[in-house]
Amino acid sequence: MVEPGQPWWRHVRWLWLSLMSFVALMLLIAYQTRWVYPEIHAYFSQSGNLTGQQLATRARDYLQQGLDLLLQAPDDADIRQQAHFQIKLAYSLFDIGLYRREYDCTLPSLAVIDELLVRLEGDEPVTATHLRQNVLAPMRCLTRIEMHQLDRRSAVTAEFVDKTRRHQGQVLAGSLVIFVLGLGFWLMHELQRRRAARSAKESLEWMSRALRDPLTGVGNRSALHDDVVAKHGRQMGLLLVDIDYFKQYNDSLGHPDGDRLLRRLVELIQQAMGQGVQLYRLGGDEFAVLFECQEDRSLDDSCRNLVESLRAAALPHPSHPHSTYVTFSVGAARFKADHAGYERGYAAADVALYEVKEKGRDGWQVAALDSREMAG
């Protein structure tokens, strides 16, 4: 069904149309070979054999042979019998409906031949004069028929050749049209396929963008949630990192410098935590670090290492009330990666972060969750 606003050609199965075109082309070629060439065979295969000869030609030959015999020995009984046989064959090949209908000399000629046969059967004398006076007419008639039939055959052959040439031209043109249509349909299919691939790629890019923070390039809160779901059942560590007095930083240095600080912080966290961790910006100056973590000690080490690395970076903070450098507060918790475990772990890390801030910031704390709380 065509949806409103969608052009109809978006819904055509171009590949099928293309395949059908090429199948049609093959069928056309098969038709040409299977059915048209036998017709050519029927026209031209009879040359060189008896059925390829005109009946009039064969009749004239037999009549000629009979007359030759009679002219040589008209009174010899054997010769007369042989001549009678030849002339009967001539009569049978001459007595054709087509000749009777189309050539007015046929019936008189057949009558003359019939009279000659009767004479031969009745042992009546057949003289050379009688033969010359009566039998030359059938010979002329048969020759006339031959010539006319040859002309007609030539005309029919020429017409057939013309028809075949026209037919072949039509078949060639049809083949070209079908071929071009097939190519066109295939091209449309290719365009449709590329359009679909491009659309899919764009969708994936948009989906990817939807999960990323445009300022720092790291994942956002949705990505954090998706990654936790992907790690279902595993023991995870979650660090929530907050820049202390970031608002004052922005107020004193401006938002562009604040943005640069955020990007720098991402680099520092990634360097400090190494491979196998995922970094997310949850909003404003709050980041999260997610990694697989089997025990609290490992989580402590990660927090310590992170805070010390950030302190070592000694990023200037001109409006910090207690320091000349940027400081960070980190709250951490371990949890089992499922929906309830994540919510609990996230809340615990947030509480730990709050407690660090309550205690004056620039520090870290790991939430103390027992194994039952972690398992949910």
């Binding site: 029927a42 009879q46 008896l50 059925t51 064969r58 037999y62 042979q65 030759d68 015999l69 040589q72 020995a73 010899d76 054997d78 010769i79 019998q81 042989q82 046989f85 030849q86 009967k88 064959l89 009569y91 049978s92 090949l93 007595d95 054709i96 409906g97 087509l98 009777r100 209908r101 046969l117």
Partner: protein, 161 residues
């Protein structure tokens, strides 16, 4: 009319040659049909075939361009009777020296014609026996090339296995 001795000898020689050339055709008996199956030869009299002719119909005869009454035998039955079964091919020889080998004879549509318009056919009617298709379908009777398989003046039939 004066004729030289050379003319007389030449004429005699020509007659002799003619007799020798035409001898096979004249020696054969147009009143019989020969069937060959390997070494076996069966001679069927045309008269017996005429007597046995039991199929009658009217149809438009393309070579005569008119409707005629035909009587004859179902050719396939004759083949089975004398060859045991229908041979895959048959080699025909005709009285007009036409010879041809054709296949696909296991078809009751082929009739061996012995009579036309209630008269026995002879060489003058392209007999003494000839083959026709009782029903030639949609083939154009005006184009006689459509009927090249209709063998006339049949003298002998040889089974080709």
């Amino acid at each position: 009319m004066f004729q030289s001795g050379r003319d007389v000898y030449g004429r005699a020689l020509a007659v002799l040659l003619g007799v020798l050339l035409l001898a096979p055709a004249v020696q054969a008996n147009p009143d019989s049909l020969l069937l060959h199956d390997g070494e076996r030869e069966i001679e069927l009299s045309i008269e017996s075939l005429r007597e046995r002719a039991d199929v009658e119909f009217r149809f438009f005869e393309p070579y005569l361009s008119e409707e005629v009454s035909i009587r004859g035998l179902v050719f396939r039955d004759l083949l089975v009777e004398h060859f045991g079964r229908v041979p895959p091919q048959l080699h025909f020889e005709a009285w007009d020296d036409y010879d041809v080998t054709l296949s696909d004879w296991d078809d009751p549509n082929w009739i061996l014609v012995t009579h036309q318009d209630d008269e026995p056919i002879s060489l003058r009617q392209r007999g003494p026996v000839r083959l026709v298709e009782r029903d030639y379908g949609s083939r154009d009777p005006a184009n006689l090339r459509n009927f090249n398989d209709w063998v006339w003046m049949i003298r002998s039939i040889e089974a080709v296995w």
